[in-house]
Symmetry: C2
């Protein structure tokens, strides 16, 4: 498939690198290509500066948000949640219409320090805001409940015996996402939570995730398994 | 121990019945004892009216909120989250001071239909509001993340291989709660999430719990296991 990943942070790098390695024609979208490649700050996951990462992942084509989305059939939103609507507006409604838009972002607001709060929650979600802003796109929420490295390699945790959620209003879109998750990334257990209102719960899980990461499991390399 | 459970709903019934069966001197607190025993509505868990349930659990002593709390060393808040502060005010600050106050409630607001929203979340939690209102009590949040029948019998799910969380500001209070959970109720995995601000995440997990219950697992008899 032709896939765009919007966002050059650790999530965008993990997703685009994996998708390209699976043989997909992959674009990584950013606001300003020259500025991204000129960044001198190393990412917190050890992948270095964006230019260093791209030197090792040159099969990923770097482009503007609009070019990346325009070339793609499937678009991942891997931008920071509080910047996602702006990034998607730059990608352009015409480049998202009719496409599968996989939202993996969390609307975390770090402006008041740790722990972050959510910039939208309870009676709304980032995924619903994106769907409302881009009614022609088929928005599916997934992957926001785990660290970037687990998104694309779930076997790092408990031999892959744990749960990924999907939510969205379009059944075919969710089926495509589930195929990417299972056949592409190696997820064994994908739980369909229904329509996009379920994204509220998936995003509101983040404060619990942060507590488990910081105080409970004391590692970001964990997930939850739904068990009955 | 002398234990009070506040609230005659399915959670209060499950907790008080189990605690009494473990040999604890157990009071079940309610706003109006005569009114509770005169209720004609059967509970949704199949335990019948409150009088029918009490007929089978007569070792549990029914009392007012204040009498129950006054008699106890440990108090469980098992009232509806939106009514908890009122119930605890009726129990009385003097009857809660210096005591372990185990908050198992969820601040779910059903007034706008399903799915419910939370009446407090994100930058605050019910547990923190209770701690602020009753600074002399040692508030510990736990058990709010599972159905009542699993709270006191975790072996019903996945042979007990799943996770319960605790959060609170007093280490000794959390140790006592962990002892009740493990030795009393049979929980194997109890994860300490730190101070009471972690109750935000535990309460904000409820929308995800509701989605899994209604659309994913399609049963309330499930839990999550934190796996690494």
């Amino acid at each position: 498939m032709r896939i765009a990943v919007l966002g050059t942070g650790v999530v965008g790098r993990a997703l685009s690198g994996k998708l390209a390695s699976l043989g997909h024609e992959t674009w990584l979208g950013t606001r300003d290509v020259a500025a991204a490649l000129a960044q001198t700050e190393a990412a917190r996951d050890g992948s270095g500066t964006f230019a260093e990462w791209h030197g090792r992942n040159s099969q990923v084509q770097v482009a503007t948000f609009a070019e990346a989305a325009g070339n793609a059939e499937v678009v991942f939103n891997a931008t920071a949640g509080t910047a996602s609507l702006d990034a998607l507006n730059r990608a352009g409604e015409e480049n998202l219409a009719g496409k599968l838009l996989i939202d993996v972002a969390n609307p975390l607001d770090f402006s008041k320090g740790m722990p972050p709060s959510l910039s939208v929650c309870n009676t709304d979600s980032l995924a619903e805001q994106i769907q409302e802003a881009f009614p022609g796109a088929k928005v599916v929420k997934t992957l926001n409940t785990v660290s970037a490295h687990i998104m694309v390699d779930p076997g790092q945790v408990a031999q892959g015996e744990h749960t990924m959620f999907v939510a969205g209003n379009d059944g075919d879109a969710k089926a495509t996402v589930t195929e990417i998750l299972q056949a592409g990334f190696g997820w064994r257990s994908v739980l369909d939570l229904g329509d996009l209102t379920a994204a509220r719960g998936m995003e509101m899980y983040l404060p619990l995730w942060l507590s488990v990461m910081m105080q409970g499991a004391k590692t970001p390399t964990f997930n939850i398994a739904v068990v009955t």
